[in-house]
Amino acid sequence: MSGGKLITGFAVTATSHTLGEYRARGGYQALERALLGMKPEEVTGEITASGLQGRGGAAFPVGRKWSVIRPDDGETHYLCANADEGEPGTFKDRWVLENAPHLLLEAMLIASYALGVRHSFVYIRGEFDLAYRRLAGAVEEAYGAGLFGKDIFGSGFSCDVFVVRGAGSYVCGEASALITSIEGKKGYPRNRPPRLTVRGLYQKPTVINNVETLANIPWIIAHGAQAYRTFGTTKSPGTRLVSVSGHVTRPGVYEVEHGYPVGRFIHEDCGGVLGGRALKAVIPGGISTKVLTASEIEPHRLGHFGDCEDRRVLPQSAGIPHLEPLVFEGESLQAAGSSLGSGGMIVIAEGTCMVRVLQVMLRFYHHESCGQCTPCREGMGWLHRIVDRIVSGRGRPEDVDRLYEISRANDGTTICGLGDAAGYATVGILDKFRCEFEYFIAHGRSRYDGCLECLGSS
């Protein structure tokens, strides 16, 4: 099994999400402990000491973000839980919202206390139905039990929570677009500076954290940073929710301790590749993270690029070769040129056409680009149209280079990370599967058409 459980360590039943059962599991004790026994700075100090990193994609240290806020500076501060979960392949926050909504609410209360927040917000993805109903129900329960509102636990601390539903836009998961959307405007990301912790929601200092990030907080406050650090690795403490989908036998949400080998996770915990096929590639953390080939995941078994029979093209931006098995840890994935991203893992079996994979991804980015800044607004459509044309059999030899150029022209030139990420994703696939594109362009059809049965793939 994939290590210790800090978030998912209880049996999910039809009622396990309720306040009663959450409290029976020890819920809201961390809140009580923080409110009655700790100063706000001590809470932040504990979170900083725990080394907790953001789970929304960028792995930003939570303590560092929180420390910018001075809880007692007399300013209004806001906290927003990012429950927009739009990254394709990612559905782990939904698990928390559906099965442990009180865990999020408790975490938000603790965080609000630490940050001097009177009004907090949950921005929840519009498509979420059960998750929304469970969260809304939990908010009602919590208010009923006096956990929100004025003078919580007689501590003098007051806090309210508002649940805001999104309208189905991916980019509204980007922190500044999320804020703009809460303000009732079109969800356009904002330029930095100013940072959101300086001027965020309604121009006030604002902390935005991912649902899973926050879900770690009650455990850390209840057990202490030291205990938290016994999980995971030195550089990536704790666990991580991973949502697995694609060509995999047992898709779903898993809690994985940092340091656990990715290959073992896929083959053992998730039951291996669907239909017993060979593993071709894995998108490790949502489609915005660079794809990894099977040999990058298990170089100790497959050798570096050893499986690339007719794919033996040296990648243009190859990661540093390493023969250690890839493990769930920021550094390990970074060394392989990718990242843990948002924990949305997509397993791709041998026989899958990567040109079409890229086509699907680019259709998404094209559709979701907010259209605000030039390189992303124009670049996403351009990338998409080129790959569409290749797939329709009208590719041109110069297309691959053009895809690279457009991707690079989005790198670091955009307002938010969407354009960059689409570029990384494109470059990731091109680097490792360029020959498939060249084949498609030369022959007007996929190398995999009619070659392999794609059982169960959609």
Binding site: P193, S369, C370, C373, R377, E378, W382, I386, G412
Partner: protein, 476 residues
């Protein structure tokens, strides 16, 4: 005062400035589309990138100056970035400069030659969008030309505050649209977005396909539409490109009016009334001097007026608050001692016209009330018993409200029924035919210059007053 270095030159920037502002203030040009000095920073066109030594490139319009920073505005990396942005911006742009009214004064055109200059590298079909789409009766949009800089949107949110424009849809399907409740139709400042648009996406049906801007000349002028006295440019056919074959009236017509930036009065804006000065100045003109409605030579009419004035014991004058400072002073010099003068309001708010707001528009719909009142007081016109001559200068007066059986000398520029009822009628020039100054309600004096020549049969009021005061004799 942070000291920064731009391309190696030390520059004293101001605290709180951005690198773009500091650079422009010190003569270093950085290209920009979406940035505008009077609007908030949206930072979305991405053309204004600069390199800060030792850091990644970033946009200058949102980069605060920091003590000691070393900015490069034209490094190789910056040039490469700009070129890529220009490729993106023109990717789906129709490049129809040949039929675009903005050609010749288009930022995109200029930047293309400056920062890209190469044909498109794309082989994909362009994204199509609506053309000639009506945002209001006054403003059309070609969404294919729009580069989505959002200046127009921000203008309606931050300046005119109608909040009438927004952007619909996402990515390269984004479309600038007006809200459906007609607020843009009612926005009295809507036409400013046409000037703000860095490309030819927004255009006025009144200019559409009528002129190429390089055949036009801009004459500095002042809008007489209200007491704000916004400084404007009146655009008209350049004399060296006068049309000979086609309709000759085009040479004397106002092509368009744009703001002349003036921090003391109107900043960079004017209201829509200022755009429509042609509707004021190009009304049918009075060009014929008359005695009791009978055409006579100008000199004959002047003599008759002179004689009336000489014989009058208690003459009263109604002075136009559309007269320039020079004309008002000439009146005062020539006739002030002999004539009891009152200031006449030539215009009052028209039905449906915005009366007053907190941006520019003033309730007094005349340009020079301040100067006229300074000379002639602000008492309303009164006609004592024994008034034996009326001199009416300008328009907007209902003659039936004047004392009966008193002779009238009338000076007017426009063809109006009252003219024929005057004992002496003298046609005078309009603002676009002469130079002068107006004093606005704040006391700011602004100059205007002539756009067109005056006809011989029409007099300048300024010289007329001196002639009226001199003893009867040869005409002026």
């Amino acid at each position: 005062m942070p000291r920064i270095f731009i391309n190696g030159h030390p520059v004293e920037a101001e605290k709180g400035q951005t690198v773009l502002q500091a650079a422009l203030a010190h003569g270093f040009f950085i290209p920009y589309f979406c940035w505008h000095p009077a609007l908030s920073v949206s930072g979305n066109c991405r053309i204004c990138a600069v390199e800060v030594e030792g850091e990644d490139l970033d946009i200058a319009c949102n980069m605060p100056v920091r003590e000691g920073m070393r900015v490069l505005t034209d490094s190789e990396a910056v040039q490469a970035w700009r070129k890529r942005m220009m490729q993106f911006i023109t990717l789906n742009h129709p490049v129809d400069c040949g039929i675009c009214d903005k050609a010749g004064e288009c930022t995109l055109q200029d930047y293309h030659y400056e920062y890209n200059g190469e044909p498109s590298v794309s082989r994909e079909p362009k994204v199509h969008a609506t053309k000639f789409f009506r945002l209001s009766a006054r403003v059309l949009i070609d969404n294919e030309r729009c580069i989505l800089c959002s200046r127009c949107v921000r203008f309606t949110h931050e300046v005119s505050r109608s909040r009438a424009l927004g952007i619909q849809n996402r990515a390269d399907s984004s479309l600038v649209r007006a809200s459906e409740d007609g607020r843009f139709e009612d926005d009295p400042y809507s036409d400013n977005v046409i000037d703000l648009c860095p490309v030819g996406a927004l255009f006025s049906p009144s200019l559409l396909y009528r002129h190429r801007v390089w055949y036009l000349q801009a004459t500095p002028s002042v809008c007489p539409g209200c007491a704000r006295g916004c400084t404007v440019r009146i655009w008209h056919r350049r004399p060296d490109w006068a049309l000979h074959a086609l309709d000759g009236r085009q040479n004397e017509a106002i092509a368009r009016v744009t703001p002349r930036e003036n921090p003391a009065v109107n900043g960079p804006w004017i209201c829509n009334k200022g755009r429509d000065l042609a509707r004021i100045f190009e009304r049918p003109r009075a060009t014929q001097a008359m005695l009791k409605g009978e055409p006579v030579a100008l000199g004959t009419a002047v003599d008759a007026a002179r004689r009336l004035l000489e014989g009058a014991r208690r003459p009263v004058a109604l002075v136009s608050n559309w007269g320039s400072n020079e004309e008002l002073e000439a009146f005062q010099r020539a006739l002030g001692g002999r004539v009891r003068a009152f200031v006449k309001e030539d215009f009052s708010p028209a039905p449906g016209e915005p009366v007053e707001d907190d941006l520019l528009i003033r309730a007094d719909k005349n340009p020079n009330t301040a100067a006229a009142r300074a000379l002639f007081g602000d008492a309303p016109p009164a006609f004592e018993d024994g008034t034996d001559l009326l001199l009416v200068w300008g328009e907007g007066l209902d003659f039936s409200r004047l004392p009966t059986r008193v002779p009238i000398i009338c000076l007017n520029a426009y063809l109006q029924p009252e003219n024929g009822h005057a004992d002496v009628f003298l046609p005078v020039s309009v603002q676009t035919e002469r130079a002068g100054h107006y004093t606005n309600f704040q006391g700011v004096v602004s100059a205007f210059e002539p756009c067109f020549a005056k006809r011989d049969s029409v007099a300048h009021a300024e010289s007329l007053f001196a002639a009226l005061a001199s003893p009867p004799g040869p005409s002026p």
